[in-house]
Each structure stands twice: as structure tokens, then as C-alpha cells.
Symmetry: C2
């Protein structure tokens, strides 16, 4: 590899213990066959889709093609105490994959093979760089599906899903990533490999290291293989869209579904401003039908009966209810929800909130978000995984503005206070990353944070991996 | 409290680091208002339902009535380095709650209140000593249920369920304890209290300490409060029982249900010898109908249609299929399965295996168990949570015989080899406890075990809690 002398660090790397000089890190990685210091590659690996823009770029990028490449990279990092940022598809929403001068990125996006699918056991073994939608396409050939389906399914990778314990629409019924990952192979910060979990559905030998890695945001190890649990595709799926005067009415309708003891497989909410943005980007006409939108899907042998129950539960709140007549109509409704983030990205720089609240506090949370928008002067667009109480309030600022200071930052902080006030949490499924660190201690408390940092020290005593993130 | 001078330890306490003299431990706990050295209390707290009989009894028992009592006990233990064995209902099946001379038992079975139920959020907050069936009875008043339902539901407590990550029948569809525990309050070995998890369905701030405590078998802390996720009671439930010539045919039928992409809420298998034992104990007549039994239940809006699909899938294997005509018939069939362990306990000392295997290897596993019985000369009775591939092969020996040596021990070891050979695990839901420790390293591997022990050291550097168990 050609070694470029990188620009000196300008101080945006997370400060935590001594950071090496950039040049020293670059030099050590000269021997890695997959490393590059190409400026374009380094710039491309410097941030994610959180809207965060680092002031510097990493010293080098390792484009790993195998577990051995990852092992070699971490051995070098361990030996020379070089901070490493693990990277997958770069679609994270919290700055977890952002990298700075003095750091080396280990990118696993080329490790993108589906190694095996066992259709009888309903298990897929995959590399971390495979995209979520590719796993689902392969599973569909066997009448199966992989339940965690972030809105970004077409562009996000399984490794990143694992790093953040990603959710999505179907997790209303089928649980988040933790419930669908049976086992992992992980390269530890010193280059050793450990296997966690198993191929069986149940198993309790030892502590649940599998769950510990899931959601650890790349701070404990780099996943090089995952054993995923697939599920039978439902024999029947039914879909409806309902429109409401405003988002509070839609929030009350969602809570009414929960209170009526119904288990939708999808329950998604969008507010009026988001509908406007989607209509503008996609040429659809949702906003004309109401000031808020609720998408509900049921599945299973009694899907049609369960959708009847949903229609009945939301009737007192809705201005209109439309049942999808066929698969094409259903897919168009689901697509509207998936289009929300890309549509908003056409309006400016987007910073996506991710608070989760108790499910009967949804209407209150939406009201609180309106107040935050009024108070801070930022524009907030809201969608929610309503069956889980997980809201994504999206702050949109001018592309020239920062999301890590000024009104956008203030609004993010107020969202956390709002979540806390109603008994909720800072992040439901996107992770803490770089952007939400300052509220972590307040949510977890001193004792929990101390234990978690001590656990990190067990895996990564030198803080090589994703330093300054997550905790 | 009155201090009795305990009998000297006779060497059965798990050796791991220095163990205090029994008398010293007793003396330190004199100041605890809930401690007793009454010989009957100490004998009662010395073992569980695993069939293991310790040669000594613990020095004292603390009957905690509050979190403060647990804190006080662990502060004493921490200060004086006294090994503590946490105890709930004492229904464990792996010796995890067994206690010996030199140890003090902290029994939380009197902490048995349901603190609150939120019927809208579908959350129960409970103390650890409340029985599993009591939670379900309280939830039923609100149209809800608590999914993890071990066969011992009437006598096992939530704290023990958490310690072992207990499963049960309904976890075929609804997941194990980990999927139903949202949050915990835990007293650490030094007396500090930490809260884990949250009241919301989703949340990823920090590492998953909640999952780390679940299944840790009392080695990381003592749970004093749990926030449980309840679920809507299904609108409809349908049940059938099928009989087969032998257990291999029943195993093939269970695998056929999985392969047909059907999701039963219960799928339980019993072999002929177990049916004999149940019939003898309960006056039923299952054995006359076949050499193996499969119980299947479906639930939800389309339960009747899904049960049709199950009947179709198993028809090629079954000799007869009986659909329950009403709730009473369905409950009688479920009861037959719940009666299995108590029925076998009438035949002798029972040691319960708990291997889990890939779901399409069930028939092979049953065949392997028959070979183990023939080779070791022990009687093995088998039941299985068939949808999860979790088998409970029960070894029954004469009450005068030990289960920790001789043929019973040899058979347990062979079961582990069998599980390993077909890609399975040592324990699906009962835990390692004292009785399965010697196979843990072989399953986990050196690196994983080393990490897990280092994690234990973070929580319990002095190894005060349940020393010599689990890892």
C-alpha cells in the first residue's frame, strides 16, 4: 500500500486516554494487505447517515474480505495501540461508525456472503456485510423471512443491525435483532476469536455473551459471522391504512390497539409534515387524506379476522380507513413508510431521534414533540413504530447547519428529557453512537455505567474499539 | 438469633478459593434480623429438586422479606467473605441452589408480592419470590398472560425462572424468560443495587445487562424486583393430542410441523415409559393409545385453521389424532404433560437431563437416548419441548442411589456427548448448576469461558455468590 502522510488530527476524535499520532497509526497498517490510505476511501469511511460531519478523516481503511483480514487488523491495532472503528454499510444513525484522524477503519462490507441456509432448521449463516434485504430475499426462496427489518433494509447490513440491536416494522410481533440472532463469531480487540450462542433455539450454558455483543455498538469485538434465526413466512397477510385529523388522534388509536389486546405484525405511524414530504418526493397523495397516518398489518391464519379487530378498535379515532385490496396496494402503503427518511433527506440535513416510550403515552409524546419544535424553532417530522412505543422524531436543518450544536442539538436533548419524563428511553433501536453520549449516564445511573465500563475493559482493556462511543 | 455451632464441613462444598470456617460465617450473620441457624431450616435450604443430596447443610439461612434484608445480608457476606447461595422456591433441577457447610443461604421466597400490574402497558412488577402461576393468575384478571411457563409453574418462583432463563411450553411461540423480562433490580455482591433494562418494549442505551443477569444462575447478583412483560391472552386456543407407535415416529411428526412452517404455541412430546408413569400416578389411559404422545396447541384468530394444518402435517406418522372438544379436554391433555415429573418422582430418585438439539434431529436424539439407556443400564424417560428441540430425558434410579456418581452420572455425560454430536447444547433451560459443570468448558471453549469468568469477577471479585456453580 502507498502511505500518505495524513493531515494532523484537529481534535474532533473522541478524547479518552492517549490517542496516537496519526502518522504512527498509518505506518503500522502498511503491512496489512487490505489497507488503503486513499483519500477518497478515507473520506467515504469517515461518517454514517446520522448527519454528523467529522472535521477530520481516519488515517487508513482496511477493506476486510475475510475473518483473517479482521484478525490481522486487530492484531496490528492491539500491538500498536491504534484505535479502530468497525464499519459495515455506513447507514448508522447515531455516529457510531464515524471515524477521525488517528483512527483506522475496519470495513467489513466486502464480507457479504450468505454462507448457508438450512430451510428445515430455519437458520441462515451469514457474513456481517450482507445486506438485510439480501438475507430476506434468500430466505424467501425457502418460504422464510428474517424478522428484523429496519426501514433501511435495502442498504443496511447485518453486522450493523447486530451492533445496534436494530428493530424495524415487523419487530412489533417478532422481536428485535436480539431475538433473531442465535450465534456469533467475533474477533476480539486482541485478535482472538470467540463464538457465542448456538444453533439451537434454546440454550443456557454460561452467560449470554451473544446478547452482550448485540447492541454493543462495535465496542467489544468485530462480528465476522452470524447465525440467524429465520421464521416461516405467514400464510396470510392483511394490511390497512387509516387517516386521522392529527397525530394525537393517531397516537390514541395506536394505544387503543394495544389496549384491545391485538397483536399487529406492523403498526406504523406518520405525522402530517412527514406525509407532505413523502408525497412531494414520491408523487403520492397521503396528506390530502388526513393529518396523520397509521399503517397496520396482521399476519397468520386469522389475519383477516385480526385486521377486523384493528379496524374496530381505531374507528372512533380515524377519519377514514382503507383496507388494501391486494398485495400491490399493501406494498405501496408499506413503501410510503419506508420512504419517510429518504424523503426528508431531500429537505435538508436530517438528525433522527429514536426515543421509546410506554405504549399508552404515545399521544403525550407527540404533543411534547410539537412543543419542542415550537420552543427550539427546529422542524420536527415524526414517525413511530407505534406498537413498540418507539418514536423517530426527525429534525431537519439547513445543509449548512450542524446537528451537533445549536437548535438541533438542543432539540435532541429536549427529546431525551421528554422520553425520561414519560418513563421512556433515549434510544430504542439506533444506538448511542457519538451523538447521544452525554445523556447515557443520566439514563443508566452511576452503578450501571460503572459495571458496563468494567465489562468493556474485560474485552478491550486498551479501548481500541470504537473508543468514545456508546458508553 | 440463637447461634448453634454447626457441624464441621465434610468437604462437599465446591472448592474454589479459600472457604471460611463454618463457625465464622455463622457468627457474622448473628446480627442479621432475618437469619436463623435452626437445623430444620438449614436442612430445608440445602438442596433443590435435582435429586442431588449434599453431605452437609449450610451454616445459616436468611429469610429475606425485603430488598433491605438482601442488601444487609450481602454487606455482611462481603465484609466477612462468606459464600452466599441465593434461593427462591428451591425447585431448580441442576443443583444451582444447593448449599453446604461454610455457606449462608439468602432465601427470597418470602419476598412474594406482586407490586403492580399495568393492564394497558401489559407490565407486571413483582418480587422474586412470587410463584410463576401466581403471576399468571393475576395477569388473567386483565386478559393477559405471562409466557414463560415451566412445567413446575405452580411451585417455581420468578426469581428462579430468571436465574435459569426458564422456558416451558408456551415458549415455542412466545420465547423464554429473557424475552419476557423487561427490567430488573439486583443487589450486587457488595450490597449495591443496580437497575437494568426498562419499562419500554425497546431500548438499546448501554450493554444488555438485563440479559446478562438472566440465566446467570445467581452468580452475579440477587434479583429483588422484576418488571415482566405480559401478553394478550389469545382470543382462541385449539388443542390436539396425537399418538404414535414409538418415540421416533413422534419425533419425525414434530419435525414435520416445523418443516411445514407452522407455529404451534405448544408442542410437547412424551415417550411410552413416561406415559406409563403418568397413567399409573394419575389414573389416566394414555399408554393404551400408543407408544408416544404429542400435544399440540395453536392460538390466535386463526387457531382452528392452524390446528388443521398441524393435523395434516402429522397424519402420515400418527396412529390416532384426538382434537380437544372443549377447554376441559384441552386442560386434561396439558395436565398429562405437567404431571410427567411428579409421576416419575414416585418411581425413584429423578435426575433430569435438559439437552437441546436442532429441531430436525429430534428422532435421532431419541434413538441415541435409547442406546444410552441400554449401554449404561439406567432407566430413561423422555419428554420434549419439541418445537424448540429441547429434550428432558429423565434418569430414574433407586432412592438409595446417587445421581452424581455411577450409572446415572455416566448417562448424564453421554447425553451431553449425544447433544454435542448432533449440534446441540448441554442445557436448554435448567442451567448448569452444580451437576453439569464438568462439561461447560467443552461446550463454551477456553476463550468464552475465560471472558465469562472475567465478567463474573467484575460483579463478584471475591466469588461470594453461588461459588463453584454455573461456570
Amino acid at each position: 500500500m502507498t502511505v500518505h502522510t495524513p493531515a494532523p488530527a484537529v481534535g474532533t476524535a473522541p478524547a479518552e486516554g492517549p490517542i496516537l499520532m496519526a502518522a504512527e497509526g498509518t505506518a503500522a497498517f502498511e503491512s496489512h494487505p487490505r489497507a488503503t490510505t486513499d483519500p477518497a476511501a478515507r473520506a467515504a469511511a469517515s461518517t454514517d447517515r446520522s448527519g454528523y460531519e467529522p472535521a477530520t478523516v481516519p488515517d487508513a481503511v482496511v477493506h476486510a474480505e475475510s475473518a483473517d483480514d479482521v484478525v490481522a487488523a486487530l492484531r496490528l491495532a492491539h500491538e500498536h495501540r491504534i484505535p479502530v472503528v468497525p464499519r459495515g454499510a455506513g447507514t448508522g444513525l447515531a455516529g457510531g461508525a464515524s471515524a477521525h484522524a488517528g483512527e483506522v477503519v475496519v470495513d467489513v462490507s466486502r464480507m457479504n456472503r450468505i454462507l448457508s441456509i438450512d430451510p428445515v432448521e430455519m437458520i441462515a449463516v451469514v457474513e456481517p456485510g450482507v445486506l438485510n434485504a439480501e438475507v430476506n430475499a434468500a430466505a424467501a426462496e425457502h418460504g422464510l423471512f428474517y424478522a428484523p427489518d429496519p426501514a433501511s433494509t435495502a442498504i443496511c447490513s447485518i453486522g450493523g443491525n447486530i451492533a445496534t440491536n436494530a428493530g424495524g416494522m415487523w419487530c412489533a410481533k417478532y422481536g428485535v435483532t436480539r431475538e433473531s440472532v442465535l450465534g456469533l463469531r467475533v474477533v476480539l480487540p486482541d485478535g482472538r476469536i470467540v463464538s457465542t450462542g448456538r444453533r439451537t433455539i434454546k440454550g443456557v450454558t454460561g452467560y449470554d455473551l451473544n446478547a452482550l455483543f448485540i447492541g454493543s455498538e462495535g465496542t467489544l469485538g468485530i462480528v465476522v459471522e452470524a447465525t440467524l434465526r429465520l421464521r416461516p413466512r405467514p400464510v396470510r397477510t392483511e394490511t390497512l391504512a387509516a387517516y386521522f385529523d392529527d397525530v394525537e388522534a393517531a397516537g390514541r388509536a395506536a394505544s387503543a390497539i394495544t389496549a384491545a389486546r391485538i397483536q399487529p405484525s406492523i403498526l406504523e405511524l406518520m405525522d402530517g409534515p412527514t406525509l407532505d414530504a413523502v408525497d412531494r418526493a414520491e408523487g403520492t397523495h397521503h396528506r390530502a387524506l388526513g393529518g396523520a397516518f397509521l399503517l397496520a398489518q396482521t399476519d397468520g391464519y386469522g389475519a383477516h379476522l385480526e385486521l377486523d379487530a384493528i379496524a374496530e378498535a381505531i374507528a372512533p379515532f380515524a377519519t377514514s380507513v382503507h383496507r388494501a385490496a391486494d398485495t400491490a396496494e399493501a406494498e405501496a402503503l408499506v413503501k410510503a413508510r419506508r420512504d419517510a427518511i429518504p424523503s426528508l433527506e431531500q429537505l435538508g440535513r436530517v438528525s433522527i431521534g429514536d426515543i421509546a416510550v410506554p405504549r399508552d403515552r404515545l399521544a403525550e409524546a407527540f404533543k411534547g414533540l410539537e412543543e419542542i419544535a415550537a420552543r427550539t424553532g427546529v422542524r420536527i417530522f415524526s414517525v413511530a413504530h407505534a406498537a413498540d412505543g418507539n418514536l423517530h422524531p426527525m429534525i431537519v436543518v439547513d445543509p449548512s447547519e450542524s446537528i451537533t450544536e445549536g437548535p438541533a442539538k438542543a432539540a435532541l436533548g429536549e427529546m431525551f428529557r421528554l422520553a425520561k419524563r414519560v418513563g421512556g428511553t433515549l434510544t430504542g433501536e439506533h444506538g448511542v453512537g457519538l451523538l447521544k453520549r452525554e445523556w447515557v449516564r443520566e439514563e443508566l445511573g452511576d452503578t450501571s455505567l460503572e459495571l458496563q465500563r468494567a465489562i468493556r475493559d474485560v474485552f478491550d482493556p486498551e479501548h481500541i474499539l470504537n473508543r468514545g462511543k456508546a458508553l
